[in-house]
């Protein structure tokens, strides 16, 4: 009987080998898919029952996990939720996580690979695991100033430190309170979510870095001017044609100035003056002279058409290819199909302010483990030099004239040289234009670069312009930075 016994023992071995294989299949090979299944409550339940790390702005946490007496043990709690929502995002049992809550979720939860040894030590010592603290670059005073200055208008504000790329403020309105989505009662969370989705103000969209991108309008003239200076064919004092209406080839339509008048005597203007008074015809002319290729190339060096994470994902600002001449002229003044995020506009100003070097925007200053071990620390990272130092200096001077004696006078600050550019972007028939303003200050030692967009003219409506509507907001943000 021993032969069949041996065979039977082999059968038993095969049975167990099958189990080893099937167990491996579930726990290793297909584990990722199983964890990602939306019916698997474990992933988020596990995070919820762990003490998620706080998100700190300045010296104070704006998001914390507070112990509660329910099955999840901790309640995510947001301070000034609406003000910081575009930065922090939400953390929901039902809808997952966005913003920093989403981008740094694993670090906050303590499940990042970097935290392996901490976890191991916690397991060995039986300590409750805790997530890491994420410290942001946001300055609470600047954030609050931007929030207050934007008022009840729809739009966004982004403020950068030009030398480091640190995001000092990022505001988007209308906003929402992430607290309303952080509840542990599923039905209540679903109801809140439905209400936010139904809100025609689209509060869940972070207008500063995403959503439906904006046409930049005249703030794009900084890019066109940069391309002109970089080409070597133009200087600040170069004389350009500046008629009331620029004749466009291949079409009967012309490109008019918004004032309806010429930009200077003899229908001529200099490059500096063209920027100062935002002369459409001169920049339309430049657009055709430089060509779509050169402008796109310049824009791309400022960060257009590039994937960017700060670490929140930033929508790509885009500029079209293969333009005909009228489209080149439109593109030269920031119309046609060019689309930008407010962050991208702030990056252009920041690069000018920083002597031509563009720093990678960044929201996270440090990530600190519960044992105060610094897991990550940001260091300024260059994205290259979109313009030469000479071009940057020239643009700096030109942009100062915009504020001192041009369309951006409402951004003037006593005793501080402010450099800026207005924009008033047409975006749809019958709707008021978007009001733009971007600036940096002090011009000789820039501490902040800012971009402001007020959708559809804000409270000013048809009367809105970048200078009147958006510049005061930028001024308030700059003052908040300089008051530090």
């Amino acid at each position: 009987m021993n032969t069949p016994l041996r065979r039977l023992s082999v059968v038993a071995f095969v049975l167990f080998a099958t189990l080893l294989a099937s167990t491996t299949w579930i726990q290793f090979a297909s584990a990722g898919d199983l964890r990602a299944d939306s019916r698997n409550a474990r992933t988020i339940l596990a995070d919820l029952s762990r003490e998620r790390g706080p998100i700190v702005v300045g010296d104070d946490p704006v998001v914390t996990s507070v112990p509660v007496e329910d099955r999840f043990k901790f309640q995510r709690t947001y301070t000034d939720g609406e003000v910081y929502a575009p930065v922090t995002g939400f953390y929901s049992l039902v809808y997952g996580a966005t913003g920093i809550e989403g981008a740094e979720s694993r670090l906050l939860a303590g499940t990042d690979d970097d935290q392996f040894f901490t976890r191991f030590a916690d397991t060995v010592s039986g300590r409750e695991p805790r997530g890491a603290t994420v410290e942001l670059t946001i300055d609470p005073a600047v954030q609050q100033a931007a929030w207050d200055a934007l008022g009840d208008q729809r739009g966004a504000v982004v403020a950068l430190d030009p030398a480091t790329g640190d995001v000092l403020a990022m505001v988007s309105k209308p906003s929402y309170d992430p607290q309303s989505l952080a509840g542990h009662e599923r039905s209540a969370v679903v109801a809140q979510w439905q209400a936010l989705l139904a809100d025609e103000g689209d509060p869940l969209t972070n207008r500063a870095i995403g959503g439906n991108l904006y046409p930049p309008g005249s703030v794009f003239k900084i890019v066109t001017a940069a391309a002109a200076l970089e080409s070597g064919r133009y200087q600040e004092s170069s004389v350009l044609p500046g008629p009331a209406v620029l004749d466009l080839p291949q079409t009967s339509a012309g490109l008019p100035n918004s004032s309806g008048t010429a930009c200077g005597p003899n229908e001529e203007t200099t490059l500096t003056d063209a920027l100062r008074i935002s002369c459409n015809t001169a920049f339309g002319f430049l657009g055709m002279e430089l060509g779509g290729e050169a402008i796109k190339e310049q824009a791309d060096r400022f960060g257009f058409d590039t994937d960017l994470r700060i670490p929140l994902r930033v929508s790509q600002s885009t500029i079209p290819d293969d333009l005909n001449e009228p489209q080149e002229a439109q593109t030269g003044i920031g119309q046609y199909e060019t689309r930008v995020t407010p962050l991208q506009v702030a990056m252009v100003s920041a690069a000018v302010a920083n002597g031509g070097e563009l720093m990678q925007p960044n929201l996270v200053r440090r990530v600190v483990a519960p044992d105060l071990d610094v897991l990550r620390s940001s260091s300024p990272t260059s994205m290259g030099e979109p313009i030469s130092p000479e071009t940057a200096a020239a643009l700096n001077r030109m942009m100062q004239t915009v504020v001192s004696d041009g369309t951006g006078r409402s951004a003037q600050i006593d005793g501080v040289a402010v450099a800026g550019k207005t924009g008033t972007a047409q975006h749809a028939e019958g709707q008021s234009p978007h009001a733009w303003f971007t600036a940096f200050a002090p011009a000789d030692d820039p501490q902040v670069a800012v971009a402001v967009v007020v959708e559809s003219g804000g409270t000013a409506g048809d009367e809105a312009s970048g200078g009147r509507t958006a510049a005061p907001i930028a001024k308030a943000v700059i003052e908040a930075v300089l008051a530090r």
Binding site: R6, S22, S30, A31, D33, R35
Partner: protein
């Protein structure tokens, strides 16, 4: 090769003692880690618990020293370790459920059943001096086994729980007689087959290289088949049905060495399974849940949903390679994580590594059982040991295979591991029987020896089929007198 070894065969009881210390340490350690993982501190009763486990183990160990000194030294430590890991997991599930409305802790009850099981295992070793005694009760065992199987079908005491009518209630206690029937019927199969094997293996025609049995010899397998189909139909217990029939066919094969029995058995099983699948809704639902568990229609439906299966897989995936650690997973999200799905619960908290270790423990346990079957000299012992070992293997496969989607899910539990008094007690009795048989297998031959074998070939052959019991003139029990220590294991 030629000389029969003269030095005294070693009992290996000290090896067993060392392994037992390890097994108790694993059990107590697991229990301690549960407390540490869930509550952040070592449980207060840890020493008491460890001491209790040590005492239970020592009782069996001392019994073995006195009553079965040559018993296999690995069986007991493995059984203790598996039982201990299971208890730790139950304790962990208890801690997760503290505060629930109808909470009553499982671990203390399981510990009580473990004590009873160990007691019965000890009793087997004390009272049953020679396993061959059991052969006298072959037909008593048949009657008892069938009666046990039929008990849940009786009115009054039979109870239906979760659609399976496999319980009887005796006052406050519920019991699954099927678990005991498993042992009793294995005794019957062994006794019956050892007598009938000549008929079953020699008679019949050869067709296409395959020995086919005579028509009238098909009787027993048909009866076993009908019994298992009966269990399936009346008690709605897929697992037990599959287990009985599988063990019977395996033993039939061992007894007859005829592959044809396996083919016939598998044919009958597949036929029965297909018919059951076509006719019975609950079988059909189980198969659908097995084939397409992630289909929302299957997952969300009221009856026969794949919810439990899928939740178990979620739990296992959550464990990954090394597991979340005791207390860090969420095994209670899976229904019946204490019994049917304890395999998934362990997978979540101990990871793939933990399950590999566990499956290896079972595998070694089973292989030691087969080793015993190969080593023991009498045919009855061989069949009984093989039957019991294969029962453990097949039961593991049916349960864990169900949880990991190798086969449709059935209602059995992991031997020695899962919550359930009947199962735990029965498996400890199986361990006792295997220990008893292994003692005979490894015991040195009687002092009066036959002529020493004259050629090395004899020894080689003696391990092979040619010299195995019953193929020659030697009767089933006669080969007990052979002087060769077969299967003397290290």
């Amino acid at each position: 090769m030629v000389t029969v070894s003269e030095h005294a065969p070693r009992t290996r009881r000290n090896v067993e003692l060392v392994l037992l210390v390890l097994a108790v340490a694993i059990s107590a350690g697991a229990y301690g880690l549960v407390g540490a993982g869930v509550n952040g501190e070592w449980p207060a009763q840890l020493y008491l618990y460890g001491a209790g486990f040590a005492v239970l183990s020592l009782v069996v160990h001392v019994t073995l020293r006195l009553r079965a000194p040559y018993a296999d030294p690995v069986l007991l430590p493995i059984a203790v370790a598996i039982n201990g890991i299971g208890l730790a997991m139950l304790h962990r599930i208890d801690l997760a459920r503290v505060g629930n409305d109808d909470f009553s802790p499982l671990a203390p009850r399981q510990l009580m059943w473990a004590a009873i099981g160990v007691g019965l295992c000890t009793a087997v070793l004390w009272l049953l001096r020679d396993h061959r005694v059991l052969r006298r009760y072959t037909f008593t065992a048949m009657v008892a086994g069938l009666a046990l199987l039929a008990l849940p079908m009786l009115p009054l005491i039979g109870t239906e729980i979760n659609g399976a009518r496999i319980w009887i209630s005796l006052g406050p206690f519920g019991f699954q007689p099927g678990e005991l029937a498993k042992i009793v019927l294995t005794v019957f199969f062994a006794g019956y087959l050892v007598t009938q094997r000549d008929n079953l293996s020699l008679a019949g025609r050869k067709v296409l290289g395959l020995h086919l049995p005579r028509g009238r010899d098909l009787g027993p397998i048909l009866i076993a088949w009908m019994a298992s189909v009966g269990v399936l139909v009346v008690e709605r217990d897929l697992g037990t049905s599959l287990l009985f029939f599988g063990v019977f066919v395996a033993m039939l094969y061992v007894a007859t060495e005829r592959v044809s029995w396996i083919l016939i058995g598998m044919g009958l099983f597949v036929g029965g399974a297909v018919i059951a699948w076509r006719i019975f809704d609950h079988v059909n639902a189980r198969v659908a849940a097995w084939l397409d568990p992630f289909d929302p229609a299957v997952y969300d439906r009221e009856l026969g949903s794949s919810y439990q299966l899928v939740q178990g897989m979620f739990g296992m995936s959550n464990g990954g390679l090394v597991g979340t650690g005791f207390g860090r997973g969420m095994p209670t999200l899976v229904p019946y994580s204490e019994s049917d799905f304890i395999f998934a619960a362990l997978g979540e908290e101990l990871g793939l590594a933990g399950l590999f270790a566990l499956l290896c423990l079972y595998m070694v346990l089973v292989q030691r059982g087969f080793r015993t079957a190969i080593g023991v000299r009498d045919g009855f012992g061989k069949l009984l040991a093989a039957g019991l070992a294969f029962t453990i293997a097949l039961q593991c496969f049916v349960v864990a295979g169900g949880v990991t989607r190798v086969i449709p899910l059935t209602g059995l539990t992991m031997p020695l591991l899962a919550y359930g008094g009947s199962s735990l007690v029965s498996n400890w009795i199986i361990v006792g029987l295997l220990l008893r048989i292994s003692d005979s297998a490894r015991r040195p031959a009687p002092a009066v020896q036959q002529q020493p074998p004259d050629a090395g070939a004899t020894q080689v052959v003696s391990l092979g089929p040619g010299a195995s019991a019953g193929t020659g003139s030697a009767g089933p029990d006669d080969d007990a007198t052979t002087n060769l220590r077969k299967g003397g294991s290290p």
